[in-house]
């Protein structure tokens, strides 16, 4: 494969099995700095499992996983990986339901994470301004004092994207961000992600084809734990193997 050193994310020959079932099978992916990669593929293709491996939730049986061209992610735990600058939005929106929108963002905000620093943390004006800005971006300013549990599904998705922004990561892994969003929200989300991808690396998993088209970026189709096709959306969707295993169904 290509030279690893200037990649942001480098997966080579990654395999993992659950009780004998091969969820990932020699998967290789490269993402460069300030690049967006859209991943499509049938249910059970291993898209979420791929994110689990990158974020330290699941250990691969085999293969290489590098961040920023040098850090071996397979040796680190979830917190260490997050602190390197990898943020993740989960397939099922996962926010802290019993806390307000504002507190959710405060928890995500990039700040020292150790016990004493959090005990004595006092939010200053610049932190506050940053959170206000994020609230504007994800259109939750009016809801900032509401509990996250009271948000609609689409708003929770946006809150989670806002938390990703607050984390200020170098690499964002975004799993099915537009599920439960209205059409106009979907369009907005595509714009937002494209904007983010100007300075950071973004990996987006999504089934919504019009959204993937809006992203207007490199597309990869996974099936049965490995790469089926790669290229522009038109190239990938014209690929007979892709039509057979995914689009045609």
């Amino acid at each position: 494969m290509a030279d690893k050193t200037d990649t942001m994310l480098y997966l080579d020959g990654v395999s993992v099995s659950f009780d004998g079932f091969r969820a990932l099978n020699g998967l290789s992916i490269i993402v460069y700095p300030a690049e967006m990669l859209a991943i499509i593929g049938p249910n059970g293709a291993g898209k979420t499992t791929m994110m689990d491996i990158i974020t330290g939730k699941t250990r691969p049986d085999d293969g290489e996983v590098l961040f920023d061209g040098r850090t071996d992610l397979t040796q680190l735990d979830e917190a260490a990986i997050a602190n390197l600058g990898i943020g993740r939005k989960f397939q099922k929106p996962t926010v802290f339901e019993n806390q307000t929108v504002w507190d959710n963002l405060e928890l995500a905000l990039k700040k020292p994470r150790n016990v004493l620093a959090t005990l004595f943390y006092a939010m200053d004006a610049s932190d506050r301004a940053r959170l206000d800005e994020i609230l504007e971006t994800v259109r939750l300013t009016a809801r900032k004092n509401d509990l996250a549990a009271d948000l609609s599904h689409g708003q929770k998705q946006w809150l989670e994207i806002g938390m990703l922004l607050a984390q200020d990561p170098k690499l964002l892994l975004v799993d099915e961000p537009v599920a439960g969003m209205t059409d106009s929200e979907t369009v907005e989300t595509a714009k937002l992600l494209k904007d983010i991808a100007r300075t950071r690396s973004v990996v987006v998993v999504e089934h919504d084809m019009s959204f993937v088209r809006d992203l207007d970026t490199r597309v990869m189709c996974l099936a049965e734990g490995s790469v089926l096709a790669e290229g522009s959306l038109d190239q990938v969707s014209a690929n007979p193997k892709v039509i057979e295993s995914y689009l045609g169904r």
């Binding site: 989960f90 996962t94 802290f96 806390q99 959090t118 943390y121």
Partner: protein
């Protein structure tokens, strides 16, 4: 930095609570010492001691709530930390007896003379000094909690498994302290205390002073707990309670946050035990009984976990009930306690304080008060014991 954190901790509710506790700390002893018996506001000595005991339990319940209500760690072994603090105080009180024991041995406590021990074991050294004993009151429970928590939280033991481990811990200590050769008085424990800091332990003034010290310690515990739960760390603890694995993906070291809360909580429990022993006049291995730790959970659940006042109210009310029942209908107490727990679990899942707060908010109409998180299905339905140790927040 610290003053800022304390100021933030003292919200309106905490100020009221601390104020009430300080008033109690003065009023009850004054009612006992200054108002002669027969006068309307005289407080009898036994009431001073009884309520002193309740306030010790309140500190213990608040300590448990810090880990359980605020961080989701259901410890069923907090009685062990309480008892260890109590033993450290008991050892000091034993050494204060000096040669006034039955065997009149100037250094060895009676039970050691009885066992034909020639000299004081190394771990009894230093306990003749009050300051040393007070350090041990903090260190022994603190270090045990730290080591236990380090091993358990690092291995990501959660939910019922952790609860069972804490029960095993207190049970193991119960068996150990029962043994005569451990050197802690075996079955009988430590008792027959004479003096504390040179003051006769039975004297009305000493009892009042101990009561006041307990009330002030409870007030300090309220400040410490409010400081923690109102800080960003408190938000992280709540995040861990509600979605542990999500919190890790934000970069927080869940194991250290839990370790901090668990250790602080154990130290509070130990201090409560140290205040308890001179007031009840005895410490024995019975304090390590696993059932004791479970009772603490019931007090906290009854009062309202995840609140600061709740465990205090729960500890005092349930123990008042216990005092009544064990006097009037001793055989029925355990049934009453079990029934109470079932009643609270089913009908008042948020406890007295939580339920009252909910009524209050509803009575004030639809205008939403955003400063106190309104309860959602997620917290109301949160089971007392998480059956699934790692709720899967993400696919």
């Amino acid at each position: 930095m610290i003053t800022q954190a304390i100021l933030r901790a003292l919200d309106k509710k905490a100020i009221w609570l601390v104020g009430i506790l300080l008033v109690i700390a003065i009023a009850i002893p004054a009612g006992n010492l200054l108002i002669p018996p027969g006068q309307p506001f005289h407080v009898p000595a036994y009431i001073v001691t009884l309520f002193g005991k309740y306030l010790c339990y309140a500190i213990l319940a608040l300590a448990l709530d810090l880990v359980w209500g605020y961080c989701g760690i259901l410890s069923l072994g907090h009685g062990a930390f309480f008892a260890l603090g109590g033993y450290a105080m008991g050892m000091y009180l034993m050494r204060q007896i000096g040669d006034r024991g039955v065997y009149a041995n100037p250094t060895l406590p009676d039970f050691m003379v009885f066992l034909n021990w020639r000299e004081l074991p190394w771990y009894w050294q230093g306990f003749d000094q009050f300051w040393f004993a007070m350090i041990m009151v903090v260190l022994v429970p603190g270090i045990l909690a730290f080591v236990f928590g380090f091993l358990a939280f690092r291995s990501r033991v959660t939910g019922v498994y952790l609860s069972i481990m804490t029960q095993a811990m207190t049970f193991a200590l119960l068996l150990a302290f029962f043994r005569n050769d451990m050197g802690f008085g075996g079955n009988n424990g430590l008792t027959d205390f004479k003096e504390i800091l040179g003051f006769p332990i039975q004297a009305a003034s000493t009892r009042s002073a101990l009561f006041a010290a307990t009330a002030v310690t409870l007030a300090l515990s309220v400040i410490v707990c409010s400081m923690i739960v109102n800080s960003k760390l408190g938000k992280v603890m709540a995040a861990i309670r509600d979605a542990e694995s999500r919190t890790r993906f934000l970069g927080y070291r869940v194991e250290y946050v839990k370790l901090f809360a668990f250790t602080v909580s154990a130290i509070m429990a130990g201090i409560a035990g140290a205040l308890y022993v001179p007031q009840v006049g005895i410490i024995n291995p019975g304090e390590f009984e696993p059932a004791n730790s479970i009772e603490v959970v019931i007090w906290t659940a009854v009062g309202g976990r995840g609140t600061i006042v709740g465990p205090i109210i729960g500890a005092v009310l349930v123990n008042m009930g216990k005092s009544y029942f064990t006097g009037a209908l001793p055989d029925l107490w355990l049934f009453a306690l079990g029934g109470l727990f079932i009643f609270v679990t089913i009908f008042l899942p948020k406890g007295i304080v939580g339920t009252f707060a909910q009524w209050w908010r509803q009575a004030r109409g639809p205008r939403r008060d955003n400063t106190t998180p309104r309860d959602t299905g997620a917290s109301a339905d949160r089971p007392l014991v998480a059956a699934d140790p790692q709720p899967k927040p993400a696919e």
